[in-house]
C-alpha cells in the first residue's frame, strides 16, 4: 500500500485547546476523589458490605 508523501514543510501540530486541559483536569480530580472515597470506605464498598 502506498503511503501519502510527507512534504518537508509540514505545518506544526495544533495546540491543545484550553477547554480540553480543563476537562482533563476536572476528570483527574474526580477520579482521585472517587478513589479517595473508595479507600476511605465511604462509597460502594461500604454499601455492598452493608447490603450483604
Amino acid at each position: 500500500m502506498t503511503q501519502p508523501p510527507i512534504t518537508p514543510n509540514r505545518p506544526p501540530a495544533p495546540v491543545t485547546p484550553r477547554w480540553v486541559k480543563i476537562f482533563v483536569a476536572i476528570f483527574i480530580i474526580l477520579v482521585l476523589v472517587v478513589v479517595a472515597m473508595h479507600l476511605a470506605g465511604v462509597d460502594f464498598g461500604g454499601h455492598l458490605q452493608h447490603m450483604r
Binding site: P14, V20, H47, M51
Partner: protein
C-alpha cells in the same frame, strides 16, 4: 454513509441521548422523594419506580448512544478520534454507562428493602448516594449535549495528521477525492 442513513442514525442518536437525559432527571426526582419523604408508601413507590426505570429505560438508553455515536462519527468525515469534543463525549458516555452498571445493585437493594418496608437509618448512605450519583449523571449528560451543540474547536494530533494526509492525497489525485 448515505445521507438518508446518516439522518436516520443521527435522529436515533439524539432521541437516545435526550431520552437518557430525561429519564435520569426523573430518576433524580424519585431519588429525592425516596430520601426526603416521610410517607412510607411514597418511599416504597419511589424506589420501586427507580428500579424499573433503571432496568427498562435508563439502561437501554445509556448503551444505545454508544452504538449510534461511534457509527455516526466513523461514517462521516468527523471521525471518532479526530476532534476533542467527540472524544470527550465518548469518554463521558462510556463512564456514565459504567457508573450506572455499578449502581444497579444498590438500586435493586433499595427497591427490595423499601418494598418490604424495612428501610432503616443504616440505608441513608445509599439513599444519599442515589441522589448524588443521579445529579452527577444529569450534569454529565447536559455537558455532552453542550459539546454536541457547540462543537468546541480543537483537533487531536491524530485528526490533524489524518487531515494533512488527506489533503496531500486530494492534491495529488484530485479526481479520486471528489
Amino acid at each position: 454513509m448515505s445521507r438518508g442513513l446518516r439522518k436516520f442514525v443521527l435522529t436515533a442518536h439524539i432521541t437516545f441521548a435526550v431520552g437518557w437525559l430525561g429519564a435520569v432527571a426523573g430518576f433524580l426526582a424519585l431519588a429525592i422523594i425516596g430520601w426526603k419523604s416521610q410517607d412510607a408508601h411514597s418511599v416504597s413507590a419511589a424506589y420501586l419506580a427507580m428500579d424499573w426505570i433503571t432496568r427498562f429505560v435508563i439502561l437501554p438508553l445509556s448503551f444505545a448512544p454508544l452504538i449510534t455515536g461511534p457509527t455516526l462519527s466513523l461514517g462521516t468525515p468527523w471521525g471518532l478520534f479526530r476532534h476533542y469534543w467527540i472524544l470527550a463525549k465518548l469518554v463521558i458516555t462510556l463512564l456514565s454507562a459504567i457508573i450506572l452498571l455499578i449502581h444497579l445493585q444498590p438500586i435493586r437493594y433499595l427497591a427490595d428493602t423499601a418494598a418490604k418496608g424495612v428501610l432503616s437509618g443504616a440505608d441513608l448512605q445509599i439513599q444519599i448516594q442515589m441522589v448524588v450519583a443521579s445529579a452527577a449523571a444529569l450534569l454529565a449528560l447536559i455537558t455532552t449535549n453542550f459539546l454536541a451543540v457547540f462543537k468546541p474547536k480543537g483537533m487531536t494530533r491524530y485528526g490533524w495528521r489524518k487531515q494533512y494526509e488527506e489533503r496531500i492525497v486530494s492534491r495529488q489525485f484530485p479526481e479520486d477525492s471528489q
